[in-house]
Symmetry: C3
Subunit: 134 residues, 3 copies
Amino acid sequence: MPVYTCTTVQSALSAETKASLAGEVTRIHSMINHVPGTYVNVVFHELEPDDLYTNGEPARPLLINGWVRTGHPEAQSSQLVAEIAAAATRVTGIPAKQVLVVIQNSPAHLAIEGGRVLPDPGEEEAWLREKAPH
Amino acid sequence: MPVYTCTTVQSALSAETKASLAGEVTRIHSMINHVPGTYVNVVFHELEPDDLYTNGEPARPLLINGWVRTGHPEAQSSQLVAEIAAAATRVTGIPAKQVLVVIQNSPAHLAIEGGRVLPDPGEEEAWLREKAPH
Amino acid sequence: MPVYTCTTVQSALSAETKASLAGEVTRIHSMINHVPGTYVNVVFHELEPDDLYTNGEPARPLLINGWVRTGHPEAQSSQLVAEIAAAATRVTGIPAKQVLVVIQNSPAHLAIEGGRVLPDPGEEEAWLREKAPH
């Protein structure tokens, strides 16, 4: 269900580091938002040095944008963003001051996966029990 | 007005398939949301195999993120997401279980195209009749 | 805090033009939304010619997607999107009819930078005065 998109410059993250970060983001999201890891997607965009700017100068931030379903409890969302941000620095070694994590959301009924409209937060179990059409 | 961003791994989609999917997404959005096809944008991000993960493992999902103006009727939005998801599998052959379609939105007044603020849903005709400044 | 993502085809923008656009977007956002330029990120995605479509045909639009914190005054947001759109054409020479600027937002408490949850609009000064933990 969720998609986390990590944007940074080429060579900032090794293949191993990307795999580790994908693993940690999946573990954290799965634990906090009650979604099986098989539904957590992590995308990396690795850009040329002249395609990423902070303060109008070429820079090397790590920008993480997460999309989740609208309606998770406030405290849960705060914990999610905090743990993702902490993991980003812990796994990659990129200092926290260069890391920005943003969570965006849409109503579950505006998303389809496996041919089925996603469940609202809290209704994952029933949704997962139902047989997917494909 | 809308932007559909399709993310997958390199070689998952041929040039022909991308063109066909862009065409279908344009046709569907145009029909359901009453926007001329000339305003429908489709973007493809084709990533290296180690830049896309599901469940913390390299994977080959097709992730489609659509941006539309806030305020379309609920039933229209549900139809939109369903038809885009069905077209994704029909055109690409990628099984529905690997396809995630998410629609996000912003108020029309937070978007500008052709030098003009976009119209709210339902007010497209008057907007299109007005002469653009460029 | 904000992230502006500019998507177009390869060779549409020279390295110099990208740097100029990043500088202008930073200056405009900083001035209007009261955020130091050091917190403004600009990303460029330069795609292959067959990865970008308008009306189902390969095309060369300039798509700019900005993420900002929810809660800026309406007039401020309208000015922001207008000035970003004007700068895009002024700096790149791409005609306004090929430029789409969209602003999306999330609540500040769903974003973390420098290890700290972002301030709501209007509370930037106090936030900036506090010592960051890293």
